[in-house]
Symmetry: C2
Amino acid sequence: MPTKHPLDLLVRSLALRSPLTASDRQAICDLPHVVQALDPASYLVREGEPPYRCGVLVTGFAYRQKITRTGARQIISLHIPGDAVDFQNIFLDVADHNVQLLTRAEVAFVPREALQQLVRDNDRIGTAVFVKSLIEGSIFREWVVNVGRRAARERIAHLLCELGARLDAMGLAEEYGYELPMTQEELGDAVGLTPVHVSRTLKDLSADGLIVRNKRSIAFPDWRRIREAGDFYERYLHLAPQHSAG
Amino acid sequence: MPTKHPLDLLVRSLALRSPLTASDRQAICDLPHVVQALDPASYLVREGEPPYRCGVLVTGFAYRQKITRTGARQIISLHIPGDAVDFQNIFLDVADHNVQLLTRAEVAFVPREALQQLVRDNDRIGTAVFVKSLIEGSIFREWVVNVGRRAARERIAHLLCELGARLDAMGLAEEYGYELPMTQEELGDAVGLTPVHVSRTLKDLSADGLIVRNKRSIAFPDWRRIREAGDFYERYLHLAPQHSAG
DNA sequence: CGTAGTGTTGAGTCAAGTCAATGGTTGTGG
DNA sequence: CCACAACCATTGACTTGACTCAACACTACG
């Protein structure tokens, strides 16, 4: 007897911004799916391959990634439980980037056609999926700004704030911080810095009392100050519901 | 007697990737709209404001932009004739970035509700708009990579290739190049560099015979070499049609 | 012509990168 | 339960790609 449906978090994530009725929620949970437990670094999507299914994070974290010719990796976004990692691919014929697991994770795979059909048949769900995709696009835009125009300290602070705000919106953060399941190399690839410089910058942030580190957990003693250090304004996350879209 | 409908280019842009019937095309052209001629730097969208209409570029160029706390500007994307600059906003309640004209331009403004209604009522058009939005998202992702992990020379070469490829797909490029309506400051803000360094890098690219400059026009004597210099692979532009999405 | 907006060039600086060594943590298997 | 291996984080010394500042040149346009 499942205490919790694997797609519940997806429903919660969609309902955060778009109104969904009880029957909409049921329809999402009724999507055919298989849940798999996968190891860190497992690929959910591979650049160049056609997407035939959509992975939904039930537990664990993932990231989007692209590799340049010289072998440098850029992490393009981070994904938390409840995120569907393939809304960006499901209406396109070929994946233009990779998605990998950051941690061990349980992933619910939904066949592409079933998801496309539901999006087409149900207006509210279709809008919710569209809205979620557009918000992901908004996050990509903010990352362009972060990586293009902010100094190292701001970049890292911004990333930490964003993750905190998103986890918090999903009810997945602790009181003052959260478990950050990333190495400094991964952090660097997310903000366009080398791991060495990430190490130094985190040290500075700690020294200034903006963050408190303990193993891989991050806490913010003063939310206002870290937001300021990261030039973080959460409007781009569109955490309030989109009433007029329903 | 109009020789050409203002929304024709939008139709062409959508039809590039998604199949549209003659009546779909007619339905798009029948959208209510007003065409305005506007000066460079005019705002089409302002961060923080609710989007009540969607601008479509009939002629001229535009860009998305965000300003950091320190006043630095990051250009997030460039838009060419046929692009609708508000697909990213139309289903969200508040704009999270600015859109401005790069050049003098004619813009067709479509009321938000009319566009939303058409997207909801017509499946093929809805899918086409969704696909176009997702491709814009793909371009944002590539920009994160460009600005995060490539050297100055590659960044600029990549941007020039992207614009060339997109203009070419819309039939708006010359044989070997195109008119680049950007100052070096704007170029710099698009790739995360200072105007001084853009000037030096363009000089290098010219010296190596990768580009030929004449006023604001750019030509590529050898497309293969400039692609290579920019680490440019156009898969992310999804220029081939998305057959299975229709 | 004068002026404002661009673009170019040189000289000096600095934030972040590179290279390399050391130290700490975690997990595993003998 | 310990020992080893693999991975990760930290630190120091040095380098460098891009930035800053500043002067000057070009161009378009009234």
